[in-house]
Amino acid sequence: MFKKIAIVVGLGLALSATAEAQTPRKGGTIRMTAPYGSSFTSMDIHTSPRAQDEIYAKALHRSLYIWNSAEGKPVLELAKEDIVSGGGLVHTFKLRDDVYFHHGRRMTADDIIWSYNRIIDGSKAYPGARFVRVIEGAAEVEKGQAKEISGLKKIDDFTLEMKLTEKVDPGFYFFNAITSIYPADEAAKEGFIQKPIGLGPFKFVEHVPGSRVVLERWEKFYKPGKPYADKLIISLMSEAAARDVAFRNKEIDTSVLGPAQYLAYQADPALKSTIVEVAEVFTRYMGMNPSFKPFADKRVRQAINHAIDADLIINKLVKGKAYRATSWLPLTSPAYDKAMKPYAFDPAKAKQLLADAGYPNGFEFEWTTSQNESWGLPIVEAIIPMLDRVGIKVKVKQVETAVLAEAIRKGDFQAYIYSQATGPDPQAALKCFHSSTPQSACNYMSFKNADFDKALDQAGQTDAPEQRVALLQKANALLQDEAPVWFFNYNKAVMAVQPWLKGIQLNATELTHQNVEDLWVDETSPAK
């Protein structure tokens, strides 16, 4: 699917400092919110790749690896050691022997093998298959040609050998909740989904669909002394307005903030200190379809980049809740070129470019957008008059996010505005513009540029890190000049956290995904 990785940039105001200074209090209730929809998709996390579902899954389940927000990379979680051999393709994991499922049984290598075999089951089409597929023999199982993944071998109860198909870091593949480890015996049973069992720091109590998930401390959790809280309630709250009221009313401990609320909370002395922010690795952009004639001309695409005052939109409309994009790679990317300047806001130049391209009087295009407040309709509405000033008319086509995603995949658009993961691997992020990448995969603009392809291919082949970065920067710069998209911004994730909730990690892959065993509440929490 996508790799959810980034590097921490922003810091919650002195949060981490105070958290370490105090001794965590045991007990209490943590009340988190799940803001990305009014329900959880499923209590079977293997079926859902959604960020929303991972919020509860982080408490209930564990994967082989875990995302470490401080280091900005996945680290081993269920194993103590990973011995690499076989030219970087064979990983031998020494598993922890103190990991217990919520029904009390100890986890062994069998559970991991069973779980990965389940995920790759082709008849079920679990979304995690794309990660498991990196293990040798997995694709055969998926196609029904084999019964078990040949690349997974149990050496003993606590030693697992995994053979990969390519030389990659398995951490990036096996840290997501969709690759959570299930208990082999229980998960096969019918009622598992009603009362899921995992390895996480909290065990399942109840799920009221559309309302909340309640979990309680798992006493035999493998990290000593953790988790701190007795109880964890994750409430589903998709309405930002309702979340705002509930947060101010101290009914919830965390609330994801949109731009308007970000500004309002900053302005409110009582709420200012609750803000936690982090730069995420998502690039927001307007994609332009070259099969729509005006957009086939590079000058038109550049003109659009010049015509839109992105800084103004970021400051005023997005309320500073984003970073200006220069090109495709986000500023937290290792290949990000700090010297690179974004397109200047220059309507005169835009007009000139349009005239050069043969559109002195502009043209009209249809812009497909969702209602998303950060990369959807409100942005489009702000841009309409800006483009109007250089003679370009916009016809808005508003669709739901689901329809938008479909339209993008099918290339059924003249232009669209979207948010796409662009990290952590710059190579993978730029691969989307390689001419060999099919339109439906992620080359949505059907981008084709020989120089770009060359730079990217060279970067993939080289072993020297500096040279690799230089090549990627070159590709990224090429991309800026070709302007297949309007480069808008890189997201800044913002969450309000009540002062009594401590230990929030600045997770750049998704701020709401917290390793909840590290969270604790002090006695000022109003929750019982």
């Binding site: 705002d244 309002a264 103004l312 509405e381």
Partner: protein, 273 residues
């Protein structure tokens, strides 16, 4: 309330909304779409910006004024569609009877059984957001009442002498329906229509809230209200003015409907309030 008071107040409010909508280009200070200037974003109400400005820096007063056009179009057109469908089906079903009557009855029961907002939601999901979709969705889902009334009054009028008399005189079916039956049921139909317009304006707001409303950037009151809801604690003027516009217009329509009922449909005071 005294008879007539509601008619007058309702009529005034509705007329005001219509006049505002008609005169929008002259009343508005700025263009509701193009005059976005992010430098002026979210100004509270002042002499310069009567109702304040929104997140895009657009003048809310001008948007409310222009919004009258769209919201009233939604209300009036969708209700007209409903009335035409309802009257056509009800009148013909009552007049011809037989299998056609059975079919229309079945359709009416079907429409009554699916809550109209849910039906409209489903239609909007299929057609996608936008004014035309909205007019279709709201115009197709709220005619069952009109249909019932039209059918019932056709049945009662049919048994009265003058329809038979018209038949004896050799009038055609269509002519009888239009010249004899239709005028006699207009009273209640107009009353239901007036109240229905108010419901349509509210339904538009609800659909906007659910993310299936009007196609922007053109402002409707419902979409403005819906967009502003996150900021009810921080920038209340964003929602107060479109909210009031909806409230007063629908209030006007409801009062007007009440007042009209007293005049046009006095015997049915309790049939549908």
């Amino acid at each position: 309330m005294k008879l007539g008071t509601s008619l007058i107040i309702g009529g005034l409010l509705f007329t005001l909304a219509i006049v505002v909508g008609l005169l929008a280009p002259w009343l508005a200070h700025t263009d509701p779409v193009m005059d976005a200037n992010l430098m002026n974003a979210e100004e509270p109400p002042s002499w310069m910006w009567w109702f304040g400005t929104d997140a895009q820096g657009r003048d809310i007063y001008s948007r409310v004024v222009y919004g009258a056009r769209i919201s009233l179009t939604v209300g009036i057109v969708s209700q007209l569609v409903n009335s035409v469908i309802g009257v056509t089906l009800g009148l013909s079903a009552g007049y011809f009877g037989g299998w056609w009557d059975d079919i229309v009855n079945g359709l009416t029961n079907l429409m009554l059984a699916i809550p109209s907002l849910i039906f409209a939601l489903a239609i909007m999901a299929v057609l996608g957001p936008g004014l035309t979709s909205l007019l279709i969705a709201l115009g197709l889902t709220n005619w069952s009442f009109t249909c019932r009334i039209a059918r019932a009054s056709t049945l009662s009028l049919k048994s009265q002498g003058y329809v038979q008399a018209a038949r004896v005189l050799g009038y055609g079916d269509l002519r009888i329906m239009i010249t004899q039956l239709l005028p006699n049921m207009l009273g209640p139909i107009i009353v239901i229509g007036t109240l229905g317009m108010g419901s349509a304006v509210l339904a538009e707001a609800s659909l906007s809230f659910l993310g299936l409303g009007i196609r922007p950037p053109y402002p409707s009151w419902g979409s403005m209200l819906s967009e502003a809801r996150d900021q009810i604690t921080t920038a209340p003027w964003l929602s107060v003015f479109p909210g009031l516009a909806i409230f007063l217009t629908v209030l006007g329509l409801n009062l007007l409907g009440d007042g009209l009922r007293d005049i046009l449909d006095p015997q049915s005071r309790s049939r549908r309030t």
